[in-house]
């Protein structure tokens, strides 16, 4: 377990949609990636794991990867982590403690129900919030200060 040097790594996605990684002179097939800070530093500190689940290391700065590797890693991460961003709220209402909202997300429009804003909405840094709907799906609300005042009041933000 150690910190990985991006300049010493090559990453590519295989034909079977797996991730193959070369670290130095060692090759690893079917590598899993995990973000150490998926909410606060999603594009830094990426953990690489072999098929046994053993950590190959943490890549602090993927910016040091070559462009093709960076693109492959990016694609793999976006498949691993599904967290649509709410880009707009078209309608919102509250009834008996449940918030109903029609939202626009980076993955398309969605109707969500939020039960208990205290436990379902978590404020993150940089005026962002993590919203969990009644089904357990999560959405990122970026810069909630831009929302209309009434929407923010309903969401308790």
């Amino acid at each position: 377990m150690s910190d990985l040097d991006g300049t010493q790594m090559q990453i590519r996605r295989t034909d079977h949609a797996l991730l193959a990684v070369r670290i130095g002179s060692q090759d690893f097939d079917d590598v899993t990636v995990r973000r150490a800070f998926p909410l606060e530093a999603a594009n830094q500190y990426i953990g690489f794991y072999d098929t046994e689940g053993t950590e190959l290391g943490i890549l602090q700065d993927p910016g040091r990867l070559d462009a093709a590797s960076a693109a492959a890693l990016d694609e793999q991460l976006s498949l691993t982590y599904f967290l649509p961003k709410i880009t707009g709220v078209t309608h919102i209402g509250e009834e008996f403690g449940v918030v109903y909202a029609d939202v626009e997300t980076t993955s398309g429009p969605r109707h969500i129900e939020i039960r208990g804003i205290r436990s379902s909405i978590r404020v993150l840094s940089r005026n962002r919030a993590l919203v969990e709907d009644a089904e357990g799906n999560r959405y990122e609300l970026s810069d909630f200060r831009r929302l209309p005042k009434i929407t923010r009041e309903i969401l308790g933000l």
Binding site: M1, A36, F37, P38, Q44, G47, Q60
Partner: protein, 759 residues
């Protein structure tokens, strides 16, 4: 610190001198407040360099007993419940010398040490040197005015607290916002003054506009055309009335907003001040006060104080001013009628005074009972698992019900008192109007008073009732706010028991040498939890602390963290007394891992970096790796951004413990304290934590407490504690050599237990 030589009364002094041989040196003189038969009495222990003398001073001429020190084989104190005794062993057996109540126990517990010293060295003169002869004791502070004992750590005497001072102190919170307060006050004043105009306008309306026309017209059937000039005058009066009501509405709106703003600022200041002060108070404060009570003071008590400071106080001043204003108006209009109308006022004042005295204690009771209810909530809600596990829900409900009933009953006392008092006050004051109707009505009939004047007079009389009623309501509020404020100020006046001396120095980066010199400690002034412990631990050494429960292990490490100050003796860090170092700077270099790791709500990363906010993510990961936490953290879907839940409830015990180890490690502490760090986890987790701890202890002075002795296999030395004393010291192998040693016994017991477990 108290000198071993207590002042003796002038009556007894000659007897004391008479009892001593020429040249005999007095080492200690202590009073004991019980006779040997357990009754209160006055007895004195006189310790000299030659003898132990006891002076029984109770009845007439004091009776004196003496034993040569040379005959004393052993001397010790015995603790009973609520009292203790001093016992000596002589060649002919044991003798009970003195008995004393619990409060005197601690001073007598130092006597065996002094006697031993005197027997060993005739030159030991405990009484000569202030430091040498000083003994620790629990200091009971008394009020300078009335002499009553004060609560521990409190300088406030509840009996002598001056209402006026409390009141002014309450108002001092307005000071930073005095311009807003004055503005709000002026608006209130203006509103009240404007409110006094309508009766004057009405008087003008009746006497100058309506009555002259009606009187001149006589009795006429059907509608008539009114005189034009009177219609104009009527219009002006109506416009006047409209303007008055409209301006009152505007002023009231601005006033409500500014006072509301002021109130919120004051609540904010008060709550922040109390919470910040609570953070400064020593741990002993928290062990004396229940969480629920402290929470009540920060939340609802401050809210009540805000209500009084902002609106209550202003309303009171306005009510008083209105009373004076209307009173003056009444006297100006007709002093004879005014006198008659005010007849009930003295009665009302007496009733109010009586009511206020009584309601004060009712509020005290209500406040205590609310706190008791909150205490139970603070206990049972976090402990709900225990309640359910023991199926004690109904018992908890019954306890809550009992306390809630008590609260309801005491609130009902206040409801009952109010329901007598408020109507009675209303009745007494309305008597003024009744009197006015009779005498005023007669004057109108006699034509010595106009109808308009009577109407205005009665209108003012009705207005007079409002501030009177308001004042009776506000007297409740004043009492309630004063009681609440006393409680809140008591916290703010509590001095932290562990304080930085003004000249306390920054320790810099410490090496981690820890020395105890004859350190004793007591929580209650009665039992010595640590008893004259002395040792030196070199930087980087790992010390294992073992011993039965209650031996003083946790107390010892608490003293190193300076959660408490030693009652006696001295603790040195790198050769500097711990009391001469800045607490914060020292604690920042001490890492603590407790048996029950308490995590705060927030993410894993926030918890790890708790002791060093702003730590780089690389450092957080490094600390987690060293604590064997990284692997499990990376398996969580949000990694280091995962929420740990309230008190870390979303993680297992072992995971919480590893996070707490990472938290201790991130500050790169020079001294590490592991207080039963692995005792509440399973063997596999213990192995992992143990592995993590090995990273942790390297190059740091470590004190590790463990019941499982295997945990301490890497310790350089072990200190075995028993009844507050270090009874054995050495390596694991050294201690096993000691025949019938405490450590050897513990090891044997654990081996037996391991065999049983293996079966």
């Amino acid at each position: 610190m108290l000198d071993l030589l207590e002042p003796i009364s002038q009556d007894l002094e000659p007897h004391l001198r008479g009892a001593m041989h020429p040249g005999e040196l007095l080492l200690a003189l202590l009073s004991a407040d019980l006779d040997l038969d357990g009754r209160f009495g006055e007895n004195w222990l006189v310790l000299t360099d030659e003898r132990i003398i006891v002076l029984h001073a109770n009845h007439g001429t004091p009776r004196i007993e003496a034993w040569p020190l040379a005959d004393v084989q052993r001397i010790h104190t015995r603790s009973y419940v609520g009292n203790g005794s001093l016992v000596i062993e002589l060649p002919d057996g044991l003798h009970e010398l003195l008995r004393f109540s619990q409060g005197s126990f601690f001073k007598f517990s130092a006597i065996p040490q002094v006697v031993e010293a005197a027997m060993l060295s005739p030159l030991a003169r405990a009484g000569e040197d202030e430091d040498e002869g000083a003994i620790p004791h629990r200091r009971v502070e008394h009020c300078d005015t009335c002499g009553r004992a004060l609560r521990v750590g409190s300088k406030v005497c509840p009996a002598c607290i001056k209402k006026r001072e409390t009141f002014w102190r309450l108002l001092s919170y307005v000071k930073p916002y005095k311009s807003v307060a004055i503005f709000g006050f002026c608006l209130t004043l203006t509103m009240t003054a404007i409110g006094m105009l309508p009766p004057q306008l009405n008087k003008h309306l009746i006497d100058d506009v309506i009555v002259p026309v009606v009187a001149a017209r006589g009795v006429v059937e059907g509608p008539v055309v009114p005189p034009a000039d009177h219609v104009v005058m009527l219009g002006w009066v109506v416009i006047g009335l409209l303007s008055i009501h409209f301006s009152r509405m505007l002023i009231n709106g601005v006033r409500s907003y500014s006072l509301g703003w002021l109130g919120q600022r004051i609540t904010y200041d008060l709550q922040t001040e109390i919470f910040s002060y609570l953070q400064l108070l020593s741990l002993s404060f928290y062990s004396r006060h229940s969480t629920g009570r402290i929470m009540t003071r920060v939340t609802s008590d401050t809210e009540r104080m805000r209500g009084f400071i902002t609106t209550g106080f202003q309303d009171m001043v306005i009510a008083i001013l209105t009373l004076i204003g209307i009173g003056a108006m009444l006297f100006w209009m007709n002093w004879q009628l005014a006198l008659l109308a005010l007849i009930p006022t003295p009665i009302m004042l007496v009733v109010t005074l009586f009511y206020r005295r009584r309601i004060h204690w009712v509020f005290h009771t209500i406040w205590r009972r609310i706190s008791a209810l909150n205490s139970q909530l603070a206990d049972t809600i976090p402990g709900v698992k225990v309640v359910k596990a023991f199926a004690q829900e109904s018992r908890e409900i019954a306890t809550f019900d009992k306390r809630n009933t008590e609260l309801r009953e005491s609130r009902m006392v206040s409801v009952r008192m109010r329901s007598y008092f408020l109507p009675a006050i209303a009745f007494i004051t309305s008597m003024g109007s009744v009197i006015l109707w009779w005498f005023g009505g007669n004057r109108v009939l006699e034509n010595t008073l106009t109808l308009g004047q009577l109407q205005a007079f009665i209108a003012y009389m009705v207005m007079f009732l409002n501030p009177v009623r308001e004042l009776s309501r506000l007297s409740d509020e004043l009492e309630s706010a004063a009681t609440t404020a006393e409680r809140v100020f008591e916290i703010l006046d509590t001095e932290p028991e562990v304080r930085d001396e003004p000249q306390a120095q920054d320790p810099g980066v410490i090496e981690g040498r820890v020395e105890f010199r004859n350190v004793s400690f007591t929580y209650d002034g009665f039992a010595r939890i640590l008893d004259r412990c002395s040792f030196v631990v070199e930087p980087g050494e790992m010390i294992g602390l073992v011993g039965p429960s209650g031996a003083g292990k946790s107390t010892l490490v608490n003293l190193i963290s300076r959660f408490f100050d030693a009652t006696d003796g001295e603790i040195l860090i790198d050769g500097v007394p711990i009391t001469a170092l800045q607490q914060k700077k020292l604690r920042a270099q001490i890492g603590v891992v407790l048996q029950e790791p308490l995590l705060f709500q927030g993410s894993v990363a926030e918890n790890i970096s708790y002791g060093r906010p702003g730590a780089a993510r690389t450092e957080i990961i490094a600390a987690a790796r060293a604590a064997n936490a990284h692997t499990f953290v990376m398996k969580l879907s949000d990694g280091y951004d995962s929420e740990v839940g309230e008190r870390g409830g979303r993680l297992s015990g072992g995971e919480r413990q590893r996070i707490s180890i990472a938290r201790a490690l991130i500050g790169n502490p020079r001294i590490l304290i592991l207080d039963e760090a692995t005792s509440s986890v399973d063997t596999q987790t213990e192995f992992e934590i143990q592995e993590a701890l090995e990273h942790l202890v390297a190059n740091r002075t470590t004190f590790a407490i463990a019941h499982r002795l295997s945990t301490l296999k890497n310790a350089d030395r072990l200190f075995v504690l028993d009844k507050g004393r270090i009874v054995e010291e050495g390596t694991h192998a050294d201690l096993l050599e000691i025949e019938a040693g405490v450590y050897r016994n513990l090891v044997n017991m654990q081996s037996e237990l391991a065999k049983v477990r293996a079966l």
